[in-house]
Symmetry: D2
Subunit: 260 residues, 4 copies
């Protein structure tokens, strides 16, 4: 069965800004989904404007990897949907945060940190360097590649230490940024990828598309989803793996649930 990717797009500037709609007539989400479509990946889209932002519990249960692009409307994403996405990640869904999604609700909740940075919108040159040789997310890429026009993001990037740093960006104006970072949260693989400002043709770039194609395969976890992802089950004394005798005072009665 192919990997089921869903590309979530905020879909605001595509509707309100001629530069963006000219670059991405099908939306950035549409362009990304088309780039992902292949023999072993089925890519569909969802947007902020869809009922429940297109991310019902049923949809997430059938999503292997969710890509997320948002910028102007982070605050319009409902807390309930953000929480639902986060729990889907914990249960094993892959999650790829794109560019300005550093401030998206699900990404911030998964990181547990401020996720802030510095920025400049000047169409300057960005060059991405691969820092983890032969990492699956960098498969087929040269040692570095360039985007002639991009927004700058600068360090310090307010995220936890990653499992791995896969890309670091050089900017023409003098900054650097950790542009490709991997994490695991519960059973879910998480990848942050920096480029993708909406006024530039970044998602039409073959190297960027290659990164996203690789990242979907990397983030995909074929294991069955974890059920009861928040459960903290009690192990009764008489079912202990090694025979023990209960000793001392207790708070809880048999079969009782723990406090939350």
């Amino acid at each position: 069965m192919p990997i089921r990717a869903v590309v979530w797009g905020e879909n605001v500037h595509e509707q309100t800004n001629k530069t963006v709609s000219d670059l991405y007539p099908d939306g950035m989400h549409g362009t990304i989904a088309a780039a992902l479509q292949s023999d072993d990946v089925t890519a569909t889209t969802a947007t902020l404007q869809d009922p429940e932002h297109g991310l019902t519990a049923e949809r997430l249960a059938e999503t292997d990897v969710l890509l997320w692009w948002g910028h102007a409307a982070h605050g319009d994403v409902s807390d309930a949907v953000a929480e639902r996405v986060v729990e889907a990640v914990w249960s094993g869904m892959g999650f790829i945060a794109l560019h300005s999604a550093h401030f998206a609700k699900p990404f911030k909740r998964l990181m547990g940190s401020a996720c802030n940075l510095t920025w400049r919108e000047a169409g300057e040159r960005e060059r991405l360097w691969v820092t983890s040789r032969n990492h699956p997310i960098a498969a087929g890429l040269p040692d570095h590649f360039t985007l002639e026009n991009e927004e700058m993001y600068g360090e310090p990037f307010g995220v936890p230490e990653p499992l791995e740093t896969v890309f670091i960006s050089w900017f023409q104006g003098g900054e650097v940024f950790r542009s490709g970072l991997t994490y695991k949260r519960g059973a879910g693989n998480v990848f942050y990828f920096r480029p993708g400002h909406e006024t530039y043709p970044t998602y039409h770039d073959p190297n960027v598309q290659r990164v996203l194609q690789n990242a979907v395969r990397w983030a995909y976890n074929p294991a069955r989803r974890v059920v009861g992802v928040n459960d903290a089950p009690n192990v009764p004394v008489d079912q202990a793996l090694e025979p023990i005798q209960e000793r001392g005072p207790r708070l809880h009665q048999d079969g009782e649930e723990g406090f939350r």
Copy 2:
């Protein structure tokens, strides 16, 4: 100036359960604070029942390290205070989560994961092994130490990979648990320490007290707190470190704030 530690206690079972109040007539928070008090550490307490749970913005601004014990009343902690604590950590305050605080709001938000586990209240033997030789949090401890009566917590523990694993527990009933884990979130050092069920005299144990004394010193960051911990400042084009010319279309006007 001494390190200013604040021990936050939920203070519920101390008021309602005779076993607990007999063990901890000054509250668990009181016992812990007394154990921390020393020439270079000033320890005070705060509880759920205090106004704003004793954790006003002013108090947090003067707290170097916050220790947190909660169990029955996680849900009674206000979201505003939880968020305030989280942001204080990002700005550089140390945070030590104790035992059942694995499900406390600030800890869950800092981890970005479910923080769940298995458990059994049988007063069984727990033995903690030091896994990181000469780690400052293990200073002065033997290679292992035993708590004759403790609640069991079992793996999988739903937390992100730590920076370092400092302790792993062996349980009489057959389980293991990563009992001492370090993290960094923003400028703040975070430590989780497992033992401390309220019906046992754990916080009177000299080795446990030693761990907490060490952990306060480890978590303390002498640097001045980060101001504007959520800021994402724009760097104007004409202030770029390397001279650049603005190119291509733009979304933002000069001096504009970014989207959040």
Copy 3:
């Protein structure tokens, strides 16, 4: 093309100890290779006694994942072969160190640490707990599994912090041990897996076999091997990606190799 696994066995106690030869008439390496053989994995063996220990440069160039079991004869492995294995890992070959291979030359060189531990040979019970939910190396396993008779290894285990802790062992005699650890060295994935004392039938255990089958697939890196794994290439000034002028004094002449 199937993944090409090579199981390296020291093959000493199989020849000299009746207990071991009765348990493993084809050698431990033979038993492991048979367990790995499948539609997508081709497993062959190599031993200490083979010319160049069976690990010529040609053989390693055609090896995707090398599994290593050694114990009594670590010192008999030639430094040249150990170094060759290490460089193959850096170039992308997967490496799985089994049990007493914690002290094997290639593993120690890859870790950069003492790799020591405590031990006891008493045929006691070991129980392995999965600590990383849905990790590919734990695919298809229960939350824990038991080996009724094993040698004990105890913490502190003298290895660097891993990328991920996948298994932790509980021992009947009171110890714990980080039994499944992942690393990356250069382009190569490295996994350490604890069980496997030669006087017990560990490698006949279906759960242990499952771990090894999973680990081979996890360690396999499909990317083409890195060529010149020790190269530190000079980038001539006139080929800099951004135009620069040479300034200041220099040590090296154009096209010169760096010092090593």
Copy 4:
């Protein structure tokens, strides 16, 4: 008692190259040691040309933190001294590798990887960005600082994933490099710091000096050195922490040493 730092210098180009000797009449090691000297740090020097390279077992036993600069003569460092340094690190001595020491024997052995990179000697501008806010090694530094003339080192840098990335460098010619990386090996803290090409006045720069002053304090481990850093002690059955009965066949006799 002050922290006892030893600055090891290869001391070759200081003797043979007028540019270097003019910049560093006391040797780079001398300049660095002078910068470290303070109320709580005593800094001395050692060089390649000293008997046993100035690093006898006695000297290392009294060294809290060793800084290492080498370039042209890595191969002249004796394997015995390199191994002695590595074991001192495992026992708790801090180790700071400077610039071209990425290829020094002790650093390569501690990393377990190729430690290679790309390079260019053009006196170009380097800008170091702090990536870990309020990290003790960055104490007192601005968000970034610039070295007007430095050698370029480019990614991929062949080192394992660090515990923390503290600095990343931007180079005028278009490259980036992870310039400040922390590790732990055994009980010893390890820091790699990139700048320091011998034909430039880098070690006279106040920000560079500040980094080294901070790094010495960070790397210092006040715990007593680990004795028997390679020991793998047997735990006799009758001294097991939990009572067990020996079962099954065995290889070893009581009190026997394990294989190495």
